[in-house]
């Protein structure tokens, strides 16, 4: 219901807010004091060299890594004090898309998309895909249609191209009814055409469905064309947070300079 009233991204409210995020692995600080916001209706690109902490940032938001310090707010709910079921409910607002896609190749695109809705289906009705309620299957169908793959719904995922598989993964995130989509290198394994199409889709989801989308990208060029803002990470610290139209070559050079400290 709220998605109807918020369809036009006029008033951009904050979807994801990260403050002072710090993460250490075995005494080595890989994130220190990362601060950023992602608002509904925008696509934010994360840029940075290998090992700069992009994936770790997303993992901390998704609960795949435990932050050592800092606060995360998802859709107005501060995660810090939440525990158990409440924490899970808050996290359900966010969906993650992976470079390696992580669909089940032997199952149909539709079954994979339905799996995004598992948290709304009682366990007894979700043991095999044949038991999925009809309204879930129909919703999943609509999500596949949204990513332009309604005609491939019954094909096995293994028979789809990499770009199509990544769009199925996006559909799964939609079927989860996520309002915040985090994508870790969603197009790094795709050819330029497929990458373009997936990025255009993510851009469109942000702008016409008013989702908050954050994507780690390794091509500044794609960020310039599709993202509204770019956040630069260098050795676990944020070095810029600017609208992509203001992104300068000097800023990018700083990110990818070869003599950075953690060169190994």
């Amino acid at each position: 219901m709220s998605s109807l009233t918020m369809a036009a991204p006029i008033l951009q409210t904050t979807a994801l807010s990260v403050r002072g995020l710090t993460k250490r692995y075995g005494g080595r600080t890989v994130l220190s004091g990362v601060d950023f916001d992602v608002r509904y209706g925008e696509l934010v690109a994360f840029l940075g060299a290998n090992g700069s902490g992009k994936s770790t940032t997303l993992k901390c938001v998704m609960g795949l890594a435990e932050p050592d310090d800092g606060g995360i707010t998802l859709d107005g709910a501060a995660l810090g004090p939440l525990r158990g079921g409440q924490l899970q409910a808050a996290r359900r607002q966010a969906a993650m898309i992976f470079q390696k896609i992580h669909l089940v190749p032997r199952r149909s695109a539709l079954d994979n998309v339905c799996a995004g809705a598992l948290n709304r289906i009682p366990t007894s009705r979700s043991l095999i895909p044949a038991l999925f309620p009809r309204e879930i299957r129909e919703e999943a169908m609509a999500c596949l249609d949204r990513v332009g793959l309604a005609d491939r719904a019954l094909d096995k995922v293994s028979q789809l191209s990499g770009g199509q598989q990544q769009r199925v993964a996006v559909a799964r995130a939609l079927c989860q009814r996520a309002t915040i989509v985090l994508a870790d290198e969603p197009v790094s394994a795709l050819d330029p055409h497929a990458a373009e199409r997936v990025m255009a889709l993510l851009h469109d989801l942000a702008h016409s469905e008013n989702l908050a989308v954050a994507a780690v990208l390794h091509q500044p060029d794609l960020a310039r064309r599709h993202a509204d803002r770019a956040i630069g990470l260098l050795g676990g610290r944020m070095v810029f947070d600017t609208p992509t139209r203001d992104l300068t070559g000097a800023q990018l050079d700083e990110l990818y300079q070869p003599d950075r400290m953690d060169l190994t």
């Binding site: 998704m62 899970q88 359900r92 390696k100 992580h102 995004g116 598992l118 366990t123 095999i128």
Partner: protein, 278 residues
Amino acid sequence: MSTPLDTPRATPRRMPVPRDPRRRWRTGSLAAAVVVVVVLHVLAFEGTEFRPARLIEGWEGMARFLAEAFPPDLSWEVLGPSLEATVVTLWIGLLGTTLSVPFAILLAVLGARTTSPHPLVYQAARSVLSFFRAVPDIVFALIFVTAVGLGPFAGVLALICHNTGVMGKLWAESMEEIDQGPQEALRTAGANRTQQVAHATLPMVVPQFVGLLLYRFDVNVRSSLVLGLVGAGGIGLLINQSIKSFQFDEMLTHIIVVLVLIVVVDQVSALVRRRLAA
């Protein structure tokens, strides 16, 4: 005009290979390993009273035995019961395999590090699996014979127990080996543990599961033969009886029938596995 640089070098370049400091250590440990293996074999020869000379001295006994076995008794009074009992052996192997599937899946899911709900549950499941695997099916058969009496039912129960242990372990291992990505993806989507297993882990390992299942069926049909020897029904029982009553020609008939069964089961399961792999 060609300069010397335009043509390939006449002699290939060479460079000294650096000395590998681990090489002597590797040679030493290889020699030590050879010595250990040789010593173990000497001890094993002693322990099993391995004397090939005795086999040559006793060839007459074997020749007499074989002479009595040939030709096999192919009369219907022998062949009929033999075929019937062989089918029972097949049924024992089949039920022993399929009825252990639910137990094996449950214990595999609890006993795989990637799907187990708790380290204690993991340890418990692994212990149960180890126990069922460690006790040979023939021992289970002897135990069940005392409970349900002589016959194929005891054989089925024995195979269920042992096969649960073996298949559960193999399945747990194949679940630990597969790509954990899909499971993690569903976890981030808010799916609970059961749902993660049902929609990511299990569908990912179906080919390995079916392959191992067919392999175990193959093994279990052969095991059920041996179980017959201790009274758990099937063709093994007939083989045992014909040996005890010195009817070696009957025994040979049974063995030929068994051979046919085993070749057929082997071929069918190989065929199905090939189909699955394709």
